[in-house]
Amino acid sequence: MVRYFWLIPLLPGASALLLLLLGPRLSRRWISWQACLTVFLSFALSLAGFVHLVRAGHGSSGLAKTLLPWIASGSFSAAISFAFDELAAVMALVVTGVGLLIHVYSVGYMAADRAYSRYFAYLNLFTFFMLVLVLASDIVLMFVGWEGVGLCSYLLIGFWFERPAASKAGMKAFIVNRIGDAAFIVGVLFLLVNVGSSSFAAINAAPAAGVLGPGLVTLVAILLFVGATGKSAQIPLYVWLPDAMEGPTPVSALIHAATMVTAGVYMVCRLSGLFAASQAASSVVAWVGGLTAVFAATIALVQHDIKRVLAYSTISQIGYMFLGCGVGAYAAGMFHLVTHAFFKSLLFLAAGSVIHALGGEQDMRRMGGLKKALPTTFPVFLVGALAIAGVPFLSGFFSKDAILTSAFAGGHYVLYALGLSGAVLTALYMFRLIYMTFYGQTRATHPAGTAPHVHESPPVMTVPLVVLAVFSALAGFAGLPVLLGEKANWIGGFLEAVLEPAAHHLALSTEVGLILAATAAALAGIAMAFVFYRKRPDLPERTARSFPGIYRLLVGKYYVDEAYDAVVVRPLVRGAETVYARFDLGVIDGALDGSAAAAASAGKGLNVLQSGLVRDYALAFLLGAILFLGVLLL
């Protein structure tokens, strides 16, 4: 069974193809089963491969399979070849596992949608591309998956294309991603030309082998990282992710929380050999991650749309992952990626359940008091919130702690402080969300003036929630702090086969202190939220009034969108319009029409010679003949 691991991506791919071609003719039942089953099979295969790797222990080189000699031209070659190593196994499990749950959840969530088959076709297609990205053993093939998930993200954000906002958000996502991808391509080109191979093994080995000079390593790593900032929504290319919430909620959960947006982190981990070789590039990664973590968290504090809060939270959490990678703790970054996939998709799906229950309402100001009405959604939401806030013994606690500890251990104290303050903010905005949504009085209004009929979602939606909640709660035990023993950090050990190991070790007391600090941060955030949004609901407004500037800045999301629009988009379009009118139509075409006019007037001048008498023409002819003959005779 393990031998057929290359079917992991192909199964959802085949399903997507079938759905795209035959979609509208198939029954909903068939579509649901086909879509979920193929992802389930992929999951089963991933699990089998994972078990195989665990059993084989260290020293196994993983599985590899070349399907096609894809592009080969001169010194450039890239094959469609998959590899299944520890890193890919973890990621594939997350993608197929969370993906499966979200597929199942979607069966319920999208039940009423007209374009049911199209939705599942896109979702399957996404799974396919994501798995290609994960399993690719060469960077060009990874780029196929990389762009493919971008495409699916475009398609799914704009799934309800009749809504202008959705269509616009989809386009924005794709184009912003492409900006990153352009840098990524340049990075890949540097690698291809200098390393001479596109396989990850060769690239990771290149800095050590001296094939890439130190300057080049930094340049390439930063270029690739720019690509990652696009895909993983980091500063400065994060702007598309909040808008992407226009897509269906399960899509936000799968693509814009659990899997695709973390592809950048996965890529950095995949190329950890390259990134680790450049101190400068690593610092860039760490700083961008750390700053994004805090930056996005501050915006999340003042958002009113429940999904946007989660979107900014996602940006912030991915910032943590990059922070981890940047300080050399790749395993910790990956660990956080896994736990984040669980609790963030849980949060999104639960938010979807809330939205579903309220008939499409997303504004938290019109929610409240849903605790009783949603007996399953509330507890699982709470679990997710506790996990992300970093309350001890839930998954987020361990993974975040692993990152912060590594930052501290590496001597990056400023980054550590950033991370810690981000943790406070995380707890704060998450519990703000909990209190606004589930506690207090209902503020829900209905167009008709009657209270909407709030109802809990069907089991097909709640069961995945519960499963995810269990994982969000317990996944942390895969990577316990090292102070509990050398083997405690199981996932770190597992991934060590592929990733660069974290170098630093701390004294026991320091580590305990850090854990306590993290716990304190989480609790402080929750306490603040409790005070602000539960005990003294008037406080937020008063605070806002006392710092009007900061508040407006936050609500305006630092006006980054507006700045991009004013500095990049509008000058480009206006400039192009001007150039088109003035230069293309004016100068170039004008020159042409001008020369035509000149030729015409010259013709008029020469018209004097045209008497219309045959004899004059003949005379000219004779003159020509004489001259010609004369030349011949000379």
Binding site: R615, L619, L622, L633
Partner: protein, 185 residues
């Protein structure tokens, strides 16, 4: 006529082939007749006379062709040119039925220019002719005669020959289409 004598003696005097020119004597008359009738055509203002002068000139040329060992060309010249084509011209003149003779030609700038250019052209052609006969430029030999000509026509020049027949056909149809139409439809 003085013109021709002048030309021939000029050429004869210039070259060292003087010895070969003694046979020219009896040629003097057809040559003179030919040139004279062309001159007469230029001077006369009656179109019918012009056509008849041309018949005369072309007949003389036909004789000269025969002297150049081209009997078939000579026959064709007399039959087709002097006969058929010029008769065609006469028919055309008859159709116009012009009562008054053509008006006097005025000596315009254009005529003067044309005369000068004609002289220059003649000078050039004469030079070309003399050079063409310069030693080494030609290798005399006997033509194959009429049979050889026929063979050439139906082998090397077969396509050209066939195309000419098509051309004649096209001319026939064209002339009918052009001139055959009644005025005003």
């Amino acid at each position: 006529m003085r013109d021709s004598d002048f030309g021939l003696t000029l050429a004869a005097g210039k070259t060292k082939y003087r010895g070969k020119f003694h046979g020219l004597g009896y040629l003097r008359y057809p040559v003179a007749l030919c040139i004279g009738s062309v001159l007469a055509m230029i001077l006369s203002r009656n179109q019918a006379h012009n056509a008849l002068f041309l018949v005369l000139a072309f007949s003389c040329l036909g004789g000269l062709f025969g002297l150049l060992d081209a009997p078939f060309a000579a026959a064709a010249q007399v039959l087709v040119y002097a006969g058929a084509i010029m008769v065609l011209f006469l028919f055309a003149i008859m159709m116009f039925n012009l009562r008054e003779p053509a008006p006097r030609e005025r000596r315009t700038l254009r005529t003067f220019l044309a005369a000068i250019l004609g002289l220059v052209l003649f000078a050039e052609l004469a030079i070309a002719a003399v050079r063409a006969i310069a030693p080494g430029s030609v290798s005399p030999g006997e033509p194959d005669g009429l049979a050889g000509l026929g063979r050439l026509l139906f082998t090397d020049y077969l396509y050209a020959f066939e195309i000419t027949s098509l051309l004649i056909l096209a001319a026939l149809v064209g002339a009918l289409a052009l001139a055959g139409k009644k005025e005003g439809g």
